[in-house]
């Protein structure tokens, strides 16, 4: 088993959307759940998010998007990560996202989509389950 390295998560706000209540709550919650969490702050471009994910060497990237621009922004984050050789980062998306768009995001390569009302506990459990299945 890998030594005591904490699972590291980047919580990011892509695009121009300024609603960060959810992003901050998830960041606080994941930190209290034992993860190492980095928050990007508002208005990050997909390029900046990909760079941050690489520089911070995170395992997961959580994108919080409430502006309706989730399809194009997520696509561009994924593309940037792949171009920079970091396609192995696991991407989670949170926001007001319809079941149809949720399916599209998963097709793109997003591991899971979390809608309003999701508990931080659920997100933490999901992350742990992914890490566990990968190490097996």
């Amino acid at each position: 088993m890998e030594a005591e390295r904490k699972i590291k998560v980047l919580v990011a706000k892509p695009g121009l959307d300024g609603h960060d209540r959810g992003a901050k709550v998830v960041a606080y919650g994941l930190r209290d759940a034992g993860f190492e969490v980095v928050y990007t702050g508002l208005r990050q471009t997909p390029e900046q998010i990909a760079m941050a994910a690489i520089q911070e060497d995170v395992d997961f990237v959580g994108l919080s998007i409430l502006s309706g621009a989730h399809l194009s922004l997520t696509q561009r984050v994924l593309q940037n990560l792949r171009e920079k050789g970091a396609g192995d980062k696991i991407i989670l998306v949170g926001g007001i996202i319809s079941p149809a768009d949720s399916a599209k995001l998963k097709e793109m390569g997003v591991a899971e989509v979390f809608i309003p009302g999701t508990s931080v506990k659920t997100i933490a459990e999901f992350i742990r389950s992914v890490v566990k299945s990968e190490s097996e």
Binding site: G68, S72, S98
Partner: protein, 558 residues
């Protein structure tokens, strides 16, 4: 109000009740009094209550009962005249407003897309994918004209237009004034509101552009300009709403809203205005929460606190300066994606809080699917009818401050007021709202409250029906956010055309004028009005201002 001997008698009787009645009941179920929260209130909880001093009369100091001396009878009400909307291109929004006009709406409340709110044109690389989403794209005077084509036949001065613009208010306001001039409407006839509340953007809503210092200068410029030329227009609407939505408690909502108001008022005074010259035109926008009585108490306390601030701190004399003109929204943060029709109940209860709490336009309800995105025609109809049912059928608006004198509500009103004064003192000790924001104080407090709320939801201490209890699968409702794919493309073509057709030499000179004015101290409104008339874009003007003012860099520490 309460005679000393009567209170003593009440105290004795309450002790008797505890031993004779309460204890018996508890013994039966083998529980202790500590297991129950306080379950009723008596005069003992508001011993010092003094109606004249604490409530006064409607429309009189300290305005606890109401800002005005009379309530509008239900029969005169038509219900909502405004509904926050806007999407796509100016043409798309124009067509939607035409539809709303046909339903009797005369108060367009314009939602701008994020690029417009943050001062970027639609052709800026940063805004790709966000044009026309969550609001209308509006980069030029031409766009503003197109939007208002929806109201042909309705004179502009009869419209109560509300613009949700903050960091770029000077430009949006300039466009509206230029539009008025074109239509031959004298500025002193114009009514409406620009939100223009930049401080809450740093702490709650996120559409800031410039650092707080230059932003406050823009606020002062609009206040001075508005006071001089726009006597019927509200150049600012100070919001507790977004602060509450971001996670603040009821007391924090009021305290942060008033702290911001104090900073704006001080900016106006510093710019040479007299308090009674501009305070009567300040308007407010409150938030709401789920706790029915707590919200009623909050609205009552808000009026009293504001009157005291205006009288004691700013020595205002005009009664209009004391009146807190505060419509209030519903709490979208309480709306759920799960079992969304339940949001009708939530918005109704909140509408009752705002109505019984005496907010302006109390009873306003928002469509139940706002938590999902843009409203549908069916949800709009229900929201429009909610205040009508509350006022005309249930008669909730007939009596002013109907909960006045309730021991419980007076107790809560007193409690929230005390808490607000404490927070305001703390902000004063940090050097006022701007300094507190620069230190991250309000941002951290709100994030902490939001996290606490979430922890309560996760532990089950706070029940959200359909989310952490009573969970049932339900058919999804119609609606939600769908965007037409061609919006960006269509709008970019229009914008490119405007840029091609205008006199670019003149535009460059106008931008240089703006840079000079920004670097100096002259009021920015006149040069910005001149620039928008030449079809100078919002993004170009903001860029000129960014070059002089710089950009705000938020702290991202958790």
């Amino acid at each position: 109000m309460f005679a000393k001997e009567k209170l003593e008698e009440l105290g004795r009787e309450q002790e008797n009740w505890k031993t004779l009645c309460l204890q018996k009941a508890l013994d039966k179920v083998k529980m202790k009094a500590e297991h129950f929260p306080k379950q009723f209130y008596t005069p003992l909880d508001i011993r010092e209550f003094d109606h004249v001093k604490e409530l006064g009369f409607p429309g009189e100091y300290p305005f606890t009962m109401a800002t005005h001396s009379t309530a509008i009878p239900a029969e005169f009400l038509v219900g909502a005249r405004a509904r926050y909307s806007g999407f796509g291109t100016p043409e798309d929004t124009r067509d939607h407003f035409k539809f709303l006009v046909s339903k009797g709406f005369t108060g367009p409340s314009i939602a701008f897309d994020l690029p417009t709110q943050i001062g970027y044109d639609a052709d800026h690389p940063l805004v790709k994918g966000e044009v026309g989403k969550i609001g209308v794209a509006c980069c030029t005077l031409r766009d503003m004209e197109v939007i208002f084509d929806a109201f042909q036949g309705l004179p502009l001065e009869n419209l109560r237009t509300s613009f949700t613009c903050n960091a770029q208010t000077v430009i949006i306001l300039a466009m509206y004034l230029a539009l008025a001039e074109k239509k031959g409407v004298p500025l002193n006839r114009l009514t409406g509101t620009t939100q223009n509340d930049i401080l809450k953007e740093y702490i709650a809503r996120g559409t800031y552009i410039f650092p707080p210092g230059p932003s406050m200068r823009l606020v002062a410029d609009t206040l001075v300009y508005g006071t001089k030329f726009l006597p019927r227009f509200n150049v600012m609407s100070i919001c507790g709403y977004h602060i509450r939505e971001a996670g603040a408690t009821a007391a924090q909502e009021l305290a942060f809203m008033f702290a911001n108001a104090i900073a704006y008022i001080e900016a106006g005074l510093k710019a040479g205005l007299g308090i009674d010259e501009f305070a009567p035109r300040l308007s407010y926008l409150g938030g709401c929460g789920s706790h029915f009585f707590g919200e009623v108490a909050k609205f009552r306390a808000a009026r009293r606190i504001y009157a005291k601030i205006m009288k004691e701190r700013f020595k205002a004399k005009d009664p209009d300066s004391f009146r807190l003109r505060h419509p209030s929204g519903n709490a979208n943060h309480t709306f759920t994606v799960q079992k969304p029709l339940n949001n009708i109940v939530r918005s109704t209860v909140q509408a009752m809080s705002t109505l019984l709490g005496g907010c302006m336009g109390g009873g306003h309800a928002v469509p139940y699917d706002e938590a999902l995105g843009l409203y549908t025609e069916r949800s709009r109809r229900i929201a429009d009818d909610t205040p009508r049912i509350l006022r005309m059928e249930a008669r909730l608006g007939d009596v002013i401050d109907p909960l006045a004198g309730s021991y419980y509500v007076e107790y809560l009103t007193h409690q929230v007021e005390e808490e607000v004064w404490k927070i305001l003192e703390k902000i004063d000790s940090l050097g006022g709202a701007v300094a507190a924001i620069e230190k991250g104080y309000m941002q951290q407090e709100i994030a902490r409250s939001a996290y606490l709320y979430q922890q309560e939801v996760e532990s089950g201490k706070r029940v959200i029906v359909g989310v952490n209890k009573f969970i049932e699968e339900e058919e999804p409702v119609e609606g939600g956010m769908t965007f037409e794919a061609t919006v960006e493309e269509r709008y970019l073509a229009t914008l490119a055309n405007v840029k091609k057709e205008r006199d670019n030499q003149k535009v460059l000179r106008a931008l240089e004028r703006i840079r000079q004015a920004a670097a100096g101290t002259e009021n920015l409104m006149p040069p910005v009005i001149e620039a928008v008339k030449l079809q100078t874009t919002l993004g170009e003007i903001c860029q000129a201002l960014r070059e002089v003012f710089g950009e705000y860099q938020p702290n991202t520490h958790l």
